[in-house]
């Protein structure tokens, strides 16, 4: 009986070890990846650091701004303008590390615009509406992923094990204009 119990326990331990080995994260598995809190245009998403709402998107060939040194920002590609309302929850945060994922490529928001929403760092509970802009190749909308690009509103380059507001964007139906004038960010009613 004791010998049988020992054999059974050994087999059970072996089975557990095999299952653990088979289900363990493989090489390349990103075990430190962020948790994506998903939504679409109009949704209010709440994460640990932010409460956000995607208010719309549009495309433009050039950007204009009220800046003496650089009133116009051109590109060899095209500009994606993302309209957002952002409210921090616990501390002052910035969006200079926002990312757009499209057809296997990752784009960072352009940080050289004077009135970029990413420069705004208001205190907790203050909602600010403005825009982020992304510079894309001229043929970016021809890919299969143009209908479901992903906007991640990250507060840091590597949001390890943190939740991130993530919006799915359909770029194919976005309005296009020759120039888009970047509006100054403005304080609006709180989202929550």
């Amino acid at each position: 009986m004791k010998r049988g119990v020992r054999i059974a326990a050994s087999l059970a331990g072996l089975a557990i070890a095999m299952i653990a080995a088979a289900t363990a994260p493989q090489d390349g598995t990103d075990i430190a990846a962020p948790f994506l809190v998903r939504g679409v245009e109009g949704d209010v998403l709440t994460t640990r650091l932010l409460t956000t709402r995607l208010d719309g998107i549009e495309l433009a060939d050039a950007l204009e701004q009220d800046a003496y040194s650089s009133p116009r920002i051109d590109t060899e590609g095209q500009w994606l303008v993302v309209h957002l309302t952002v409210q921090t929850r616990q501390s002052t945060e910035g969006l200079s590390a926002a990312r757009l994922l499209l057809d296997g490529r990752e784009y960072g928001n352009y940080i050289g615009a004077d009135d970029d929403l990413a420069r705004i760092q208001n205190g907790p509970g203050i909602a600010t509406s403005g825009t982020l802009v992304f510079e894309l190749p001229a043929d970016a909308l021809r890919g299969a992923g143009a209908g479901h690009a992903e906007l991640r509103l990250q507060t840091q380059v590597a949001p390890t094990l943190d939740d991130v507001p993530t919006y799915t964007l359909d770029l194919r139906g976005a309005h296009r204009s020759a120039e888009f004038r970047i509006p100054r960010p403005r304080v609006v009613e709180p989202l929550t």
Binding site: I73, E76, G77, Y110, P137, A140
Partner: protein, 196 residues
């Protein structure tokens, strides 16, 4: 018997040492000797030619001297001028690329290398920042050096194209830095345009 064995061992040791010395000498001779070869050879390109290396494509378009800074129009300080290298950089990777990875140097008057004396990198199409370079979008940049008005070119003005690889520290918290820049191309410039 023991004496013979000892003699055999001594001869084997001496023979082994001699063999190692011979092999080492042959290796030195075949590899060109111990003299310094002056470092790695860098490929020479022409102005306007594409240089592809390290996830980016670089095209050196022109080198100009001027008292007015391109874009902003700011005047150089008294006794100084702007030396501007116009370069088109294209990010060939699938993620944002920062211009810290893509460095430019030039030998003009004093040795203007890419580490110490690059005053700034301006985006020719406008905007306050040259970074990040998005994947797949050719971006014209002005690498602006502040030089004495009396600076004169060397016999051969050469633009150096460098790369600096990002190095990753902590893989969990994303600490990153940049390694030492290394050259990927040299572009001799026949003429530095003087715009006054």
């Amino acid at each position: 018997m023991a004496r013979d064995r000892g003699r055999l061992i001594r001869r084997a040791v001496i023979g082994g040492i001699a063999g190692v010395i011979v092999v080492a000498a042959l290796a030195i001779v075949v590899s060109g000797g111990l003299a310094d070869d002056g470092g790695r050879r860098v490929t020479t390109y022409r102005v306007g030619e594409r240089i592809e290396s390290g996830n980016a494509r670089t095209v050196v378009e022109s080198v100009t001297l001027s008292t007015r800074r391109p874009g902003s129009g700011f005047e150089a300080s008294d006794g100084r001028r702007w030396l501007v290298i116009t370069v088109v950089q294209t990010n060939l990777s699938d993620a944002p690329l920062f211009v810290t990875n893509l460095r430019i140097g030039i030998n003009y008057g004093t040795a203007l290398d890419q580490r110490d004396t690059t005053r700034s990198i301006d985006r020719a199409a406008g905007g306050q920042a040259a970074s990040p370079l998005p994947p797949g979008v050719p971006t014209r940049l002005w690498y602006v050096f502040d030089v004495p008005a009396t600076a004169a070119p060397d016999d051969e003005t050469v633009v150096g194209v460098y790369r600096a690889d990002r190095t990753y520290g902590d893989p969990v918290f994303g600490d990153t830095g940049y390694g030492s820049p290394y050259p990927v191309g040299r572009v001799p410039v026949d003429r530095v345009e003087d715009e006054g």
